[in-house]
Amino acid sequence: MQSYISIENLAKSYGVVSAVKNINLGIEKGEFFSLLGPSGCGKSTLLRMIAGFETPTSGAIRLEGADVTDVPAHKRPTNMMFQSYALFPHLTVGRNIAFGLQQDRLDRSEIRKRIDEVAEKLQLTALLDRKPAQLSGGQRQRVALARALVKRPKVLLLDEPLGALDKNLRTETQLELVRLQRELGLTFIIVTHDQHEAMTVSTRIAIMKQGQVLQVGTPSEVYETPQSRYVAKFLGETNVFAGGKAERDGNVLSIESGEAGGHVHAAFTDRIALDAPYWVSVRPERVKLATAGNGIEGIVEQLTYTGVERHYRVRLKTGATLDARRVNHGAESDLAIGDRVFASWPPQASRLLAE
């Protein structure tokens, strides 16, 4: 069964520079899908191709089965919320929102009805007669959203929409967007470089690097089971050690790690070939530090207090570093800089990576 939005072998190059290389993606109806990656990874180019502002060099884009690759932007059933909002400065808020409906040649009463509807939903009713220059950043953003939503597009594309907002407003708005999306039952595709944002709003995330999609999955899938060191390091933080000889004992692998200076344990899996180079990744929040016991030995080198957590950086005997994190439960830290510690974690917390 074909996906709602289907991207097939899509590529885009400008002269010799290749911005997007052979992407295949299927996005389902009702998803809040994120394209996540650093700047220059091609995510904006991909979004613009879906919107119709760039023509692919090769490949196809299908919407509900129909090939829209050659359909110009103004005829596509997609709408975009621009990073700079792109509100028409010479039109009032009301006229901005009405703009797209006027292109559809709806009659006046219908236009009026829809504007009032969306204005109420986004709390813009009092601002309809103002001009964009008189609005705050958050208000402008809602107008940009209203203008796109009022056309009831099949897909709403959001290009780094929250970058200009300050932190508190951003979090609020992220939750607002999720609520709206579920209420309206629309499909959203968002481009962002902020992994917290992607994790907060998405049903699924596609992580991109240098024009290619590295991994696609739900937030917990990509976080808990990354398939490469790049993905593991891009989302949150992680410790990575090269893995060596492994011995199996029931369901647990005991892996010799020269880098870590000891044995680490991982759950047995046959998905990784252990005779080829591989790595072990463990997230700092799963690492437990104790003053005695079995574990990787090291000395606490740095201690950072962020309010919510305490971050420990441990210098191991081999010279490598290990990061650990503990949620702040209100008590003072029982570890200090210079203390000798032993680090350990449950085997399920280890993730084996082939690349």
């Binding site: 502002f53 110009p72 103004h74």
Partner: protein, 264 residues
């Protein structure tokens, strides 16, 4: 560079004085009752009367204004198209040549352009007269208009037009309803600039004109060759007045439209 030093103030003063002195002299002496520059014969507007009653001068002025208005309009339209092509379209074959042709007239000596365009008209068999002057003026003012329009278009956020297209506008309509309104001051500037350059042109007009069609600068030039007369001061002051009024008017209009946008 927070406050201008005495050296800076002096430079500005000296520079501006140098620029305006001859103009002031001209205006003052256009009201001089005596023919001689060295003698002040009392305040008089007789030269203005002479000028305005001179059919040759008036005819020349009519031709000049007509040619200037038409060529300025054509140059502004072509310049807008050229600016859109250069700024919005990323790459196309022959872009470098197009760019070169757009910029070259700005530095080309007038005689060179005049000679070449005249030869083209002769070859094409077009009768020389006000039409050829207009074609020639459009061509040489085109580059100035394009520079003004291009600078403004580059400043405009292209995402506004993209938003319009995203909302259902075909590309041409998106440009006209979103970008053009924001370009009005630049369009007015481009038009005025082309108008003034055309009005003032002597060399290109002389080469590309035909029998019976003389522009105002051509008439003034032939009078100057006969000898300096006070009527020329009067004509000059009139033209100066018209231009200054036009400039000030344009500035006021653009200031007012900016204000209106901000406070509505």
């Amino acid at each position: 560079m927070t406050k201008p030093s005495w050296f800076n103030r002096l430079s500005i003063l000296f520079g501006l004085a140098f620029l305006y002195l001859p103009i002031v002299v001209l205006v003052v002496y256009s009201f001089n009752g005596s023919k001689l520059v060295t003698v002040w014969g009392g305040f008089s507007t007789q030269w203005y009367a002479t000028v305005l009653n001179n059919p040759s001068i008036v005819e020349g002025a009519k031709v000049s204004f007509l040619v200037a208005a038409v060529s300025a309009t054509a140059a502004t339209i072509l310049g807008t198209l050229a600016a859109v092509v250069m700024v919005r379209l990323r790459r196309f074959r022959g872009r470098a040549l197009f760019n070169g042709m757009l910029l070259a007239p700005m530095v080309m000596p007038e005689v060179v352009m005049a000679v070449s365009m005249l030869l083209m008209f002769v070859t094409l068999g077009i009768d020389r007269g006000p039409l050829t002057i207009t074609l020639a003026h459009t061509t040489f003012t085109l580059c100035f208009a394009t520079v003004v329009l291009q600078s403004r278009l580059v400043e405009l956020d292209s995402s506004l037009e993209e938003a319009a297209r995203d909302l259902g506008c075909p590309p041409a309509r998106a440009f006209v309803s979103v970008a053009l309104p924001n370009m009005i001051p630049a369009i007015v500037s481009a038009w005025l600039l082309s108008f003034t350059l055309s009005l003032d042109d002597l060399v290109i007009s002389s080469f590309t004109t035909g029998p019976g069609a003389s522009t105002l600068p051509m008439k003034i030039y032939s009078q100057i060759k006969f000898g300096v007369t006070p009527e020329i001061n009067a004509i000059s002051t009139i033209i100066l007045g018209v231009v200054v009024l036009g400039l000030v008017g344009a500035q006021l209009v653009s200031r007012r439209s900016e204000k209106a946008e901000r406070t509505a």
